[in-house]
Amino acid sequence: MTTATEAVGDRPAPPPEDLDRPRPSGPRPWRSRLYRWDVRYSPYAFVAPFFLFFSAFGVFPLLYTGWASLHRVELATPDQLEWVGLHNYARLLGDDFFWNALRNTFTIGVLSTVPQLLMALGLAHLLHYRLRAAAFWRVALLTPYATSVAAATLVFVLLYGRDYGMVNWALGAVGVGPVDWQNSTWSAQLAVSSIVIWRWTGYNALIYLAAMQAVPAELYESAALDGASRAQQFRYVTVPALRQTILFTVVVSTIGATQLFGEPLLFGGAGGQKGGASHQFQTLGLYLYEQGWFNFHLGRASAVAWTMFLILLLIGAVNLLIARGLRKSR
């Protein structure tokens, strides 16, 4: 947003033909005034549609959710708001289900983000070499990203089935007993994380690849001349050059992990909003959904939504600090 307003606020320099200067005769001054207005105000008109839509579908719901979170609102009567102040937030502090969801969101986030980014970095490194059919590999990496969450998750649910799943069948072939993936905390969280990893690794790999291609080849050449192996080149040339990009992907993945919803919902099958019988893989997104759309407490759901928003702001602030630190250290 800030870049957009900056660009708009920056008044373009007058064109060289001096059209701006008032002329003494006829319709000239009027036209030039029109022209000046055009130059000055049209950019606002161009960005206006975005802001109109953003305020209707972004800002307004955000503010209204905040307003609703200070009330007792039930889905049966969403037009009746009963003021309760900060009760919904205070309630969350003592709500075991909320803390459980926060914990799950964090652990699933770590379990999915860390391996995902490491693997993406490695894959990007491999793709950076001269390969046969490079375009094919790159497109292949992006295909999981192009499949829908629902379709992918339903396939994973079948793979992770307790009685007839392929994963257990493969485990059985090497003599490991069947795992009830959904019903123990760690196995369920691993399974959900694996869906996220599968979907997003290729996407991040392509971002890394793009950044790698911007690293000047001379750096690698001189490193090679100095006798650096490929692993050393990766460690001492590629990774430092990619710091900003890595930070970007970390932030985007963290935001994605905080909002994780579709994968655990569908992994849970019928009644998936509970995230398992012991809520063992219920994320904040699912808890919000359960409170709002199954227990019909919209006020409480709004409070969860705003808490998630505040958490994201916190992550954004931390990101800003780190980014500033990185810039200084360079």
Binding site: A7, P12, P15, K274, F294, N295
Partner: protein
């Protein structure tokens, strides 16, 4: 992002175009749905036709049974349009928001039994009182069905469609291998009158069970079948919440827990993929089945199960599921909608629907009609489904329904029972988890 750009003269035109596009898009958001008056040519030749819209969840079967077509034939001025949302948990919240907004509603809206109490008590003034509509007589319906859709001040906002009296579907082939009787009277006698006898049969089955099979599909299935046979479950007649101490819950919980701990269940969650796969693999020998489940069983077991399943009466009569249709006051064509709702739920039409869809009518007069009385299901060994289910329907007690019915029910079936059955937690801990879950859900 500092950039200088030349300004082509056509820019103003572009701005206007963008602004116009924006207006159009916003305008498009403002108008949606609703009944449509179409000046089409009816079969009667010309004239305006009224389109009555029907909103349902899942498969009600009106269209499939040809009832809409028949009604349109009888009333050439009417066209019926149905919109369906697959699952009730997506359908019902949308219905609530539409009701609050007073728009986007169909002329007829279906409501599931788990939600009917909330709608009747909190939303009654947004619906047409159908008990006052011409041609509606309360005694056409089973009394408990009629009472469920009636508000505390006596307004009836929904007409009963189908109900879900419970029987037990069992695999004859597996029963024979386990040395149990296979004819439906004999099987029914094994457990008549008491779900505990059902568990005894399960233990007998377990002693001689064919390899790889267990007695029943899930502990939650037993819980549902048992708990829905009591008049007072989560609420008593005076409207007080009694979910922690009512005999219905206590008894059903104990049954489910015992079945789980004795290994009589396949540890499956109903309506999930593994459950479907277990049907195809013949993994369990019994399942408590309301009539609406028969089609599901047939589809999932496939042709290999032909004549292997049969149906016996449940230990105690119970009702699981069923629906109502309502007419919101904000309906565009209220008068026509009321007439259609009455016609669709009349005994004759419910009998026809049973013939096509196996939905048991909530109108006792239907039971004597040949479509119901003589109905047999060839897939289930020619079981007289009409007689079995209508006999159960007539002995179902007058069920008391309260608010949060669904949230409380799922706390038992989706949290407590699976914790014992699938996660091996102690019944005491699981019971506590259920109470905590309910406390969080009902917000009091």
């Amino acid at each position: 992002m500092r950039r200088r750009f030349r300004t082509p003269p056509r820019r103003m035109a572009a701005v206007t175009a963008v602004a116009a596009l924006g207006t159009v898009l916003f305008g498009a958001c403002a108008r949606d749905g609703g009944g449509v008056e179409s000046a089409g040519e009816g079969p009667g030749g010309g004239g305006r036709r009224t389109t009555v819209t029907v909103g349902t969840f899942g498969v009600f079967g009106y269209r499939q049974a040809g009832l809409y077509a028949e009604y349109e034939r009888l009333h050439p001025e009417i066209t019926i349009k149905e919109s369906v949302i697959e699952r009730n948990d997506a359908y019902y919240p949308q219905l609530l928001t539409h009701l609050a907004a007073g728009g986007g509603l169909s002329d007829i809206q279906a409501v599931e039994v788990g939600n009917i109490h909330d709608v009747a008590t909190t939303q009654a003034d947004r619906f047409v009182d159908l008990s006052r509509a011409a041609g509606v007589r309360a005694d056409t319906w089973l009394d408990w069905k009629w009472a469920q859709a009636t508000s505390p001040d006596g307004r009836t906002i929904g007409l009963g469609t189908d109900i879900g009296p419970i029987a037990v579907c069992y695999r004859k082939d597996l029963f024979a291998k386990a040395g149990l009787p296979t004819d439906r009277e004999g099987v029914g006698r094994l457990w008549a009158g008491d779900w505990r006898k059902f568990l005894d049969t399960g233990r007998a089955y377990r002693r001689r069970a064919p390899a790889g099979t267990v007695f029943t599909d899930s502990a939650a299935g037993i819980y549902n079948a048992s708990v829905h046979g009591y008049a007072e479950r989560y609420y008593d007649r005076r409207g007080r919440r009694v979910h922690a101490r009512s005999p219905a819950v206590r008894e059903s919980w104990n049954l489910a827990v015992r079945a789980a701990r004795d290994g009589l269940t396949a540890r499956l969650k109903q309506f999930e993929k593994p459950w479907d796969q277990a049907y195809a693999n013949g993994r369990f020998a019994t399942v408590a089945c309301p009539p609406w489940m028969l089609g599901y069983i047939k589809e999932k077991t496939g042709p290999a199960g032909e004549d292997k399943w049969d149906i016996a009466p449940a230990p105690r009569p119970a009702n699981w599921g069923g629906s109502f249709i309502t007419v919101p006051k904000a309906a565009r064509h209220r008068k026509q909608a009321v007439a259609l709702a009455i016609w669709l739920t009349a005994p004759e039409q419910q009998a026809k629907l049973f013939e096509r869809q196996a939905s048991i009518p909530s109108t006792p007069a239907s039971y004597a009609m040949p479509q119901v009385r003589d109905a047999r299901n060839p897939y289930f060994g020619d079981a007289p489904t009409g007689r079995i289910f209508s006999a159960a329907a007539l002995s179902v007690p007058r069920l008391v329904i309260g608010p949060h019915e669904q949230q409380i029910g799922t706390a038992f079936t989706d949290v407590g029972i699976p914790q014992v059955e699938q996660q091996g937690r102690s019944p005491g801990a699981a019971w506590k988890a259920v109470q905590k879950e309910i406390h969080n859900a009902v917000d009091e």
